[in-house]
């Protein structure tokens, strides 16, 4: 991206500082999205500076332009939250989903509900670890040939665990399937 040229050193410094704030405010986004926003703000600054009279000091003119454009952290907040959401539901990447949920929590109860669903899913996946630590107390338990419980139980007397270490792939496949399902729902909700 080509920087906006300035003759005055102070103007160049103000410009660089502002663009760094834009970079910081968009750091959570994918490189393409970040560059797109940087270019948009860069173009705005350039075009606005072209309208300023030549005799006006560059630094003063730039400060006016930037004041009108607004505080990047504040102005870009809803934009970054929306773009992150799009990115997250497109890639199914858990890191992006987590960041998007965090950025959008204030934007409606639905994001809170999805947050809880993902949290429950994370708790469910912990069963894989408990199966390794306490194999006899974690699994699919039957009592008198009837289903008794699934997961971690403290008192296993009278029950029979039937999956053994197959419990781990069963939980893993369930977690992945549920994750894809929840994220698909998240995506559908977001498109509305």
């Amino acid at each position: 991206m080509k920087d906006v040229p300035f003759r005055e050193l102070s103007a160049r410094k103000i410009y660089t500082d502002y663009m760094n704030r834009v970079k910081q405010a968009t750091a959570v986004l994918a490189t393409d999205d970040q560059l797109d926003l940087l270019m948009e703000f860069n173009s705005h600054i350039y075009e606005a500076m072209q309208q300023k009279p030549v005799e006006a000091g560059e630094a003063d003119a730039l400060v006016t332009v930037l004041e009108k454009l607004g505080n990047p952290e504040q102005v870009l907040k809803p934009l970054v939250a929306e773009r992150k959401l799009k990115e997250a539901t497109r890639t199914f990447n858990p890191k992006h989903v987590y960041q998007a949920l965090l950025l959008n929590l204030k934007n409606g109860i639905i994001y809170g509900v999805f947050g809880i669903l993902y949290l429950l899913l994370a708790c469910f996946s912990l069963l894989i670890i408990t199966k390794i630590i306490a194999p006899s107390k974690t699994g699919l338990f039957y009592r008198n040939d009837q289903f008794d419980s699934f997961g971690f139980i403290a008192d296993t007397s009278g029950t029979q665990e039937i999956l053994g270490y197959w419990f781990i792939p069963v939980v893993a496949i369930t977690v992945v399937t549920l994750y894809l399902l929840i994220t698909f729902l998240f995506r559908t909700t977001n498109r509305r």
Binding site: V4, N42, G70, L76, K86
Partner: protein, 133 residues
């Protein structure tokens, strides 16, 4: 004594009047700000109906046709939302200066949505006109 009481009442009345005026102007300001917020996307779509424009040009056009003073940066989240709703499309166009411009245009969906908004607006205008008669 009587004069003092009269003076105090006078001042108190003036204060109440000032308070009512301020409250009233607060109410009008809030209302105006809500109207601005609510109509900004309608204004933007109307500008795009005539021609493709780039971000800064769009702000200038808004200023030219309306008395709306917007925090210029807030236009970009709005454009992002309109793009997400598939009402507008955008493309980067290289410039001789080396600093490209992002041009926005109306999509097919944008055109039909704008027509719906226009119909609603015309109807609202008629209703308000009737009420004022």
């Amino acid at each position: 004594m009587g004069e003092k009481i009269f003076f105090t009442i006078h001042i108190a009345l003036l204060c109440i009047l000032l308070y009512i005026c301020l409250m009233n102007s607060d109410f009008v300001n809030n209302w105006a700000s809500q109207v601005k917020k609510g109509t900004l996307s309608f204004i933007v779509l109307n500008i795009l109906r005539k021609k493709e424009v780039y971000g800064y040009e769009l702000i200038e056009e808004i200023k030219k046709f309306t008395a709306i003073e917007i925090a210029e940066g807030t236009l970009y989240p709005l454009m992002n939302r309109l793009k997400k709703e598939n009402l507008v499309a955008s493309k980067w166009v290289e410039q001789e200066t080396g600093i490209p411009r992002k041009y926005y245009s109306l999509t097919k969906k944008g055109v039909s949505t704008l027509a719906e908004m226009q119909a609603y607006w015309t109807n609202l205008e008629k209703v308000i006109y009737k009420l004022q008669k």
